[in-house]
């Protein structure tokens, strides 16, 4: 025993442990990937060296299917991309077709679309907030988020009969008029949620564990955000002013006041804060419109068979995740020649490798949840 001690005294202890990089598969069934996403991680101990996303597990070839479908049918496929912003996706296709046909859309339709879009955004951010908390170990937030989102889906159910994949938009307008209760219920919800949203802050935003795990983690620089095309709240947290609602206003966004939330830190906490602040702005937008829904028709007259004039049509909208582009090439037939959906999640995911290098696996979970990925949106 004594000999051993003298041995170590003569030879100073050096850490001789050799480390070797190794691979770990995260997903496709990992709960924090929020869907079927497989990440091939190259790790050095716990440190992430490289993240290689493998996608396509739920690729349904929506773009190919669109080439066989009529323009009315395409709308229904887009629900299944980013199912948390389904109404906004529908709206994007409808706007493309309406612009192509140069249809005059009734004011009533524009206002209702905007209100429901903002409700969709609220519901999406509520779900994100709940799931994000759960990813970091806070079960309560999950229950809170779903509790409040339930009230919005109830409003949707009363309006159009569906809670998730709504299909409320059709080219030219809306499928049916709003329910007589719609305005009252929406106002009741706003009143309720204005009291509840500060609770979100109390529960997570000021929580020391939460801030420690998000501040300074997963930094995305301003240049990288633009270069990777990271849009939506994730892009705006890096100081990239990419809100399509401000940049190229559509529907009724040109007549409402709201602030484009921009943070410059680019870390997970900034992405979190952008979404929390955006919820306030969404409520503010709805408040301005809910009492001012103009009377009138709920759809413009369209032909039963829609044929777009030959040409290329590109429409950009702001979903809860960012800049969604619908690119339709028409050759004057009843179905489009080519459709491309530029989904925000696809570009946002491509930045994951850059953002998570040098951080720990547990941080990767935080980074992914603040990116707010929806896998069907990426795979299409």
């Amino acid at each position: 025993m004594l000999e051993l001690i003298t041995d170590t005294e003569t030879e100073p202890t050096v850490n001789k442990t050799e480390t070797q990089e190794y691979f770990v598969n995260m997903g496709p069934q990992h709960p924090s990937t929020h869907g079927v996403l497989r990440l091939l991680l190259t790790l050095d101990g716990e440190i992430v060296k490289k993240v290689e996303p493998h996608i396509g597990f739920i690729h349904r070839s929506i773009e190919k299917m669109c080439e066989k479908d009529s323009y009315q049918q395409i709308v229904h496929l887009t629900d299944r991309m980013d199912y948390l912003s389904c109404h906004i996706n529908n709206e994007a296709v409808c706007l493309t077709v309406e612009n192509g046909l140069q249809l005059e859309i009734p004011e009533r339709v524009k206002v209702i679309r905007t209100i429901i879009s903002e409700l969709t955004r609220l519901a999406s951010h509520q779900l994100w907030w709940g799931v994000m908390g759960m990813d970091l170990g806070a079960i309560t937030s999950f229950l809170y988020g779903f509790r409040d989102r339930e009230l919005i889906t109830d409003i949707f159910e009363e309006t159009c009969g569906a809670r998730l994949t709504m299909n409320y938009n059709i080219p030219g307008g809306l499928m049916f008029d709003i329910h007589p209760n719609f305005q009252k219920r929406t106002k009741d919800f706003l009143k309720y949620f204005k009291e509840k949203l500060p609770e979100y802050d109390e529960l997570l935003t000021g929580n020391i564990i939460f801030t420690e795990r998000t501040k300074g983690i997963g930094i995305l620089s301003h240049e990288d955000a633009i270069s990777f095309g990271v849009t939506g709240p994730s892009g705006r947290a890096s100081g990239f002013a990419c809100d399509i609602r401000k940049k190229i206003p559509y529907s009724a966004y040109d007549r409402v006041e709201f602030k484009e939330i921009i943070y410059t830190e680019g870390d997970s906490f900034a992405r979190y804060k952008v979404r929390i602040d955006e919820m306030w702005q969404s409520m503010y937008i709805i408040e301005q419109l809910i009492d001012n829904i103009p009377e009138g028709e709920i759809k413009a007259k369209t032909k039963a068979v829609i044929k777009l004039p030959p040409g290329e049509y590109y429409q950009r909208v702001e979903t809860a995740r960012g800049d969604l582009g619908v690119f339709i090439i028409s050759d004057n037939k009843k179905s489009p020649y080519r459709v491309k959906f530029r989904s925000p999640g696809f570009s946002n995911l491509s930045a994951l490798n850059t953002m998570s290098q040098g951080f720990k696996i547990a941080d990767l979970v935080a980074i992914m949840s603040t990116l707010d990925l929806v896998i069907p949106d990426i795979d299409r």
Partner: protein, 153 residues
Amino acid sequence: MNNEELKNKISIFLSSAEFSEEGSQYLNVTVTPEHLFSLAEFLRNDEDLSFDYLFCLTGVDWITHFLVIYHLESVKYKHTIVLKAKITDRENPAVKTVSFIWKTAEFHEREVYDLFGIKFPEHPDLRRLLLDEDWVGYPLRKDYTDKANIVEL
């Protein structure tokens, strides 16, 4: 810059560029695949143009030729342009990668390669993205047939 100014600026750099505004809300510039990379670099790096945001990259099969379509926007100047590479070689379609100019192109080019079979020489990691590695054919080509999975209506 408005479309006229953009046109002048680009035609000074590359006289063979073809312009079109017909049937599109943006200015379209069509070039051969050989010229694409140099023009893309010019559009990104020129101080008055500064097209730093590639918001969409996709392909289209016009049977006689392929188009690779790049939608570009300048965050600073807020102008938009559509760049198109016209590829007539159907057997071995290729256009040099722009993933070193806009990082988002890396994923988007893999998708175009996956679904159209257009190769992007010098791409850092050109593999299939959405489909399996052993998938035969390129589904978004117009001559693609798949008796098992596609139902003809």
